[in-house]
Amino acid sequence: MMEHTLISKPDFDTQTLEVSLGPQHPSTHGVFRMNVVLDGETIVKLKPVMGYLHRNHEKLAENMSYLGSMPYTDRLDYICSMTNNFAYALAVEKLAGIEVPERAQYIRIIMAELTRLVNHTLLIGFLLNDLGAFFTPVLYAFREREKILDLFEEVAGSRMMCNYFRFGGVKADLTPDFLPRVKELIQNYPRFLDEFEALLSENEILMARTQKVGVLPKELAVSASITGPMLRASGVPYDIRKVDHYSLYDRFKFRVPIGEHGDVYDRYYIRVLEMRESIKILDQAVKEIPSGDVISKVGAGFAKAPRNFKPKAGEAYGRIEAPKGELGFFVVSDGTNKPYRYHVRAPSFINLTILEDMCLGHKVPDAIIILGSIDIVLGEVDR
């Protein structure tokens, strides 16, 4: 990376400009501040400041029953509420040893992959917004996202705050016309992706702006515990769906795209390819979904009376491949019906560690798109 050291030239030394791309700034994806020291327009120092949206989600969870904090997990990464529920449900099921019937596992995988589509489409839209394309890609992304949110609303009752997963399965079964609509969505989505790629992938301005910008070397990515599309864009083939074999992901054939340069263009393109893989998973899941009950007997009992749910003392760490990276829940129980300790391993929070390393030496607009390519959501960063 170009290490930009500030040289005070003898004849005239330029003053550095200390700008705070502050909490109130059009493209920080929420309430996030970057104290940037500029020399001209090149960035010399960049310190992220966060915590503006900190609600101490973990303290709240310690005062509530296990199921009581399930609706709060929707508010962590408010774009993919289903995957947050999924990770929390997995962690508690590992803690209490509750099995999940097959139909429920299939439904969970369908919901997780739909959320991945929503998240990646939205991310590319907002990345293009940071690049200056005046809202066109974002609104194409919103048009497609609406179809998926309608599916969520039809099944879970609410578009973004689904609160649909329960320990041992899901809250309610699929409505009759859910599966046909998912099949129809699977047909149209690749066409939308081709159109999106035609608009963006070969666009010279986009390629010029994003290639060789914010390069993340492989070693730094691994050592900085970066996960998700960012890690794979730097060339590390690590996808928790393939590594942990959680839920029924082994039954589906899908590939994991890998980039080599690890710059903003790779992170953008990896997400497009991941969306195509998610559609393949959805296709197989919708065809092979078995019938059967949607929540285990034990789970239904606890769903009906969450205060009776007292898992044995112990701790469990459940993690899934959320669209933004590895989302993990570390739950420690002391036998009562309230968790003793409840920790969320948020991918966006940890992916921000190397924001400064990537931005040094670049210009202000590059810092904005590097932040955009990391894909942070402040609800998850600040918890």
């Binding site: 170009m2 930009h4 050291t5 040289i7 030239k9 005239f12 003053q15």
Partner: protein, 172 residues
Amino acid sequence: MEVLTAISKVGIYVIFGVTLLGAMMAVTLRNIFHAALSLALTLIGVAAVFFVLRAEFLGAVQILLYVGGIMILVIFTVMLTTRIGDRTIPTSNHQQWPVLIGALLLLLYFVRMIGKTPWSIKSELAVVSAVQIGKSLVSTFIFPFELTAVILVAILIGTVILAKSDEGEEKS
């Protein structure tokens, strides 16, 4: 019809007044940024004078070069060097009296000179079209034209070297 000539005469005097006012302000204003702006006003006033004298080509070139180019560099330097834009600088250097006497002498000399020269006032001004200017530049005044071209190229190369030397250092 004489009302019209009266109005146009007033118009001309207004233009001259504005130019002079701009020049005065450029010299006396304490805030240096306003001084630079009033310098721009003066230059635009001079361009207006050219238009009044039917020398449109000269007026347009004046605006294009002075206001479009040189004024921007002036303001750039004003802004870039140690941010003196917002600090005000004392304009008087405590030698008012000698300056006043000198100015009066100069004024007297100018008035005498203007009074003496035999102005040959033509009734109607010759309209000089851009084509004539172009032809004369390339025919009769070919030598000064080429000389300035050489000087400009020299300046261009000089700036490139200057910028290059900074650039080289930066990419350490």
